[in-house]
Amino acid sequence: MRAYLFLICPVLLFLGGSYLLPFLGIMQLSFTDPEPGLGQYSHVLSDPLTLSVIWRTLRICVIVTAVSVAAAYIITLLWVRGRPLVRSLTELCIMIPFWISVLSRAFGWMSMLSNRGLLNTWLKDLGLIETSLQLTRNEFAVIIGMSHYLIPFAVFPLATAMRNVDERVLTAADGMGASRLRIFWQVFLPMTASGIIGATLLVFVFSVGFFVTPALLGGGQSVLIAELIYLWIFQIPQWGMAAAMSVILMLAVGGILVLLMRRYGEMAK
């Protein structure tokens, strides 16, 4: 039993002390700062400004999730089922962005979309536009940047699902004369549904707490929940509100994760 203490306890104590305990502190703040009660929660859920941030976050996250999962599905299809050369090439296209820091990627989109960026310069050179288009500091840029970040994360659950598809079923459909399109829509797509659901929940969970990309590409024009929490701490200190919002976010994400685990638990049976 001594081994038990020496091996297992250190990390539990470490995380208990520096993560769980302070999180309980945050929860306490959410009920007590500035005044005891549920005032912070009712304010967060009734203040028009805060509500508009929550709605914007939900709207952007839904769009980003749909875009990311759709794009990831297409590229995963070729990564898993393409010919060997195509497979290696798509793998590079997925892995290189995946390992590059979120800051470099956000900066890449700034260079691409800003007023003197690549896209505006090309369009001007081609004579298609006179003055620069405003492509950054808005929701469009946030959606582009977040989707770019999240596509590789959506690829992994999709790839697992596609690898598990029984090849014989496809061959059978082919043998019975189904067209390629029909094989895809009526056989392959339904068989990979579990991967689509997994990828959707995963990407959505990641996107709701996202901070860096929206803050850089939104330029303060489209504040999301995470940036609002940051502002409540460092710009207009309102600890109770920030704490209440964090608890709400944690509960929402926890709920989605329980759904996700149920789903995979059922499939494992």
Partner: protein
Amino acid sequence: MTKLHPGRLATLLTALVALFLLMPLIAVVPVSFTSRRYLSLPDGKYSLRHYQALWEDPEWLSSFLTSVQVGVIASLLAVALATAFCIGIWMLRPRFSGLMTGFVLLPMVAPPVVSSLTLYFFLKKLSEWNSLIAYDSLGGVILAHMVMIVPYAVVVVMVSLSQIDRRMDLAAQSMGASVPTRIFGVILPNIRFGLLGAFFLCFLLSWDEIGVTLFVTSVETITLPRRMWMGLRDNVDPSIAALSVLLILVVSLLVIARALLLMRKERAAR
């Protein structure tokens, strides 16, 4: 039996997605050679001044060193904690091991901004007691990074433990080996590549970490991503383009080298 390969439409769409994924990485390259002080494309005049600035500015160098220091120390400690935990669970298979593992993985699944707020709150409180592990100090950043990377180390070490043969450990035990001998003589040598992988992953995560770092540092302890953030937020500094080009180059070379290595292994296996 011939495998059904994706058709032309899928290939075309994939090419578009691939272009979308690679475009911003390529867009950084021309910007890094601009001769101006602000984010722009070079109009005929190419210049290396931003690369030079990167090299000569002592602030970039000190941030680089801070990041390396934080990354190495946080990763070593995190891997040590994670390895002890995983070996404990693997050897003893205690009750509630699922619950304990779930708890350890918590910082990985919680929204990053919630973890950031929690760690900021914790380090602010610690600052009232000491200055070693405190807000905006090296110790504080190391602690915050450890919390964030421990779960990943646990996952990697668990996976590599699940692949070793339990009978080796049982044989050692039946021949009278003590617990330390079993750990240092049997288990650790068998998972050394897993440990190396865990360290490498932890270092990368710490090296790139920005969400939590933004909350727990301000002006004293500035990691490389933190300095990049400062350059991006206020007035976009093209030095960041130069730095990004270098980082993208390193990552691309590593990923391509790994792909080539795997291809060679596959061919050798055939």
